[in-house]
Symmetry: C2
């Protein structure tokens, strides 16, 4: 049975990425060695990390002055590194869910945190808008896509202070205006690579402005100066990331991804609206994520919830269970998820509706 992978992350990757990763594990760049056991200082791997860095910035359309580094430890590690690099006295955070809340918790260890806006009052099922950003903040932190609730900020906001964005789950899903951001970061395990590497895109001239002494690994300048090789990088994960970026470029880049993502999400949201058994978790269309589509049972049919999950799983739909804090279902429709998987899910939803 064909599996359709709707996991929120780690999540579906392009077949090209998987196939090329296997080839490099068998014989990396003609070296006769596996990418799993080749020196990170070999010229062949140095070429990988250099190409991955330049292609990352190219695909993002980053202007001059921005650098990207690949580091280990997950985006959660950055929650504490960001305030250490950027916070002099206070920073603002927009609280749009669990991940934003975790970022806020770590930032409070290093200074004053201003809750600029929050959607906690409605279990984070919308994107706050119309808030005022204080101009005396050292930076404002936002989370552009909220995997758990299925909300997404799909535009680049104007911000009077340096803007730091966690784009773990929507990087490369749409064109962004990088010049509006001081830093963009995220775990790679959604639209980029297997779990195990974090990307940090940063406007270099904003670094080094804080007085506190930074451990070497915390200071982004360490990684920039060393081309992401201050310590041994997660070689095979970065190789996979490069393969995804090559696939992305070959597909036409982020503009094409955005169009496909809008199409896929449109098909599924339409079915959720149409199907009498389901309702969307996010009411406002402009706040609905194109990456994580959350929906719950229509309250009139709540007793069917557990049956639908089994019904869909038995038909090859994987990873559909919603996060416990929202309940219901979540279909993650990242770049690599083909339209046919969305159509297969819609067919399953319709079959379930007919049989109940």
């Amino acid at each position: 049975m064909k599996k359709h992978n709707f996991s929120a992350g780690p999540s579906i990757l392009p077949e090209f990425t998987i196939e090329e990763t296997i080839k490099a594990i068998q014989n990396f760049a003609g070296t006769g060695l596996s990418i799993l056991e080749v020196s990170h200082r070999s010229k062949e791997f140095e070429a990988v990390i250099e190409e991955a860095s330049s292609l990352f910035l190219e695909l993002l359309g980053a202007p001059a002055g921005y650098k990207v580094v690949f580091v280990g430890g997950g985006a959660s590690t950055q929650f504490a590194y960001i305030p250490q690099n950027f916070m002099k006295t206070k920073a603002g955070y927009v609280n749009t869910g669990v991940w934003a809340s975790k970022a806020i918790k770590e930032a409070k260890l290093f200074g004053e945190v201003v809750d600029v806006a929050s959607s906690k009052d409605k279990n984070f099922n919308y994107i706050p808008r119309g808030y005022t950003i204080p101009t005396d903040l050292d930076y404002l932190h936002i989370t552009t896509n909220n995997t758990i609730y299925g909300t997404e900020l799909k535009t680049d906001i104007d911000c009077p202070v340096p803007l730091v964005a966690d784009m773990s789950s929507d990087i490369f899903s749409r064109p962004i205006d990088v010049s509006k951001y001081a830093m963009i970061y995220g775990g790679a395990q959604k639209n980029l690579a297997p779990a195990g590497v974090t990307f940090v895109v940063v406007k270099e001239d904003l670094l080094g402005k804080v007085d506190r002494v930074l451990p070497s690994m915390v200071d982004y300048r360490t990684h920039i100066e060393n081309g992401s090789m201050f310590n041994t990088p997660p070689c095979v994960i970065i190789y996979s990331a490069l393969m995804t970026m090559k696939w992305l470029k070959n597909m036409g880049g982020v503009e094409v991804m955005q169009r496909k993502n809008i199409e896929k999400a449109g098909i599924l949201y339409n079915e959720i609206e149409r199907n009498k058994l389901f309702v969307p978790n996010v009411s406002l269309e402009e706040d609905r994520s194109l990456m994580n589509i959350t929906f719950v049972m229509n309250p009139d049919y709540m007793e069917l919830e557990k049956y639908f999950l089994t019904f869909a799983t038995n038909r090859g739909m994987d990873g559909l269970k919603g996060h416990r804090s929202v309940g219901g279902f979540r279909a993650s429709t990242y770049n690599a998820l083909p339209r046919e998987s969305v159509e297969a899910l819609v067919a399953v939803m319709q079959e379930f509706e007919r049989s109940h």
Copy 2:
């Protein structure tokens, strides 16, 4: 041409590890999904991380009270995490090279560092002995194997204060008495896995004794409480680590590895001593690493240095170039390196001797 991988790290892994990793990338645990794209919260992956944790402690022979966690970011990240978790006022460090020096640099950010012993006076080509360990230290930090210089502390020292050991490059190479250590840690990319994960074995009751506020990722208790799943772990790297541990257990465990490592190193050190063209970098036999065998040209034949590297490389010997701070050559003979690779290198050294 068959390649013999003498890289210092990332380095040779068992063929079993590579083959099983490829299989799991093709179809992980019968899920129909790749280990590169399966949820870390799937029951199949949760089984992997649980087995990896228990097998790690089993192979080490760790007594009750010790926990292992797998974290990202490399051993270099731990250089700053260790003092944050353990240092109240001062800690001692034994300086046996570049990695120990880097650990010292980070520790100084968090308190007083006592240089308990050092081999810097002779470019770190020996293991300091006979030093006194002050009893008022919060901990003593040692690096058991020094990849660059080819020195190794092959015994478990008696230490009157909690002992923290960086075993990045000799973990699982010999039996150790875990009860003598407060913490054992290291990057996985030598004897365990591809680059991308760090292991931390810690005596749990020593944690939580410091006053400073720790970021969540820094506090080892976070990772223990969450079974290495506080954030998304590097799934495929941990899977590879588990495969190496299964291979190791199947081979007979660390006792068998130690015997094989002594044999392999003996063959190569004997040839270095015998061959008139080469001299060992480390004079004292008891200080010589069984993992990284460093040797240089006999000064009478120094002009041959660059020719030997080419000569050996052309015969399939990979990764033999010595680190720039020592020069000459380095043959890393980790657990997974077969005896035939050492014998092939010896044959090349003898062929080179005959032709000059």
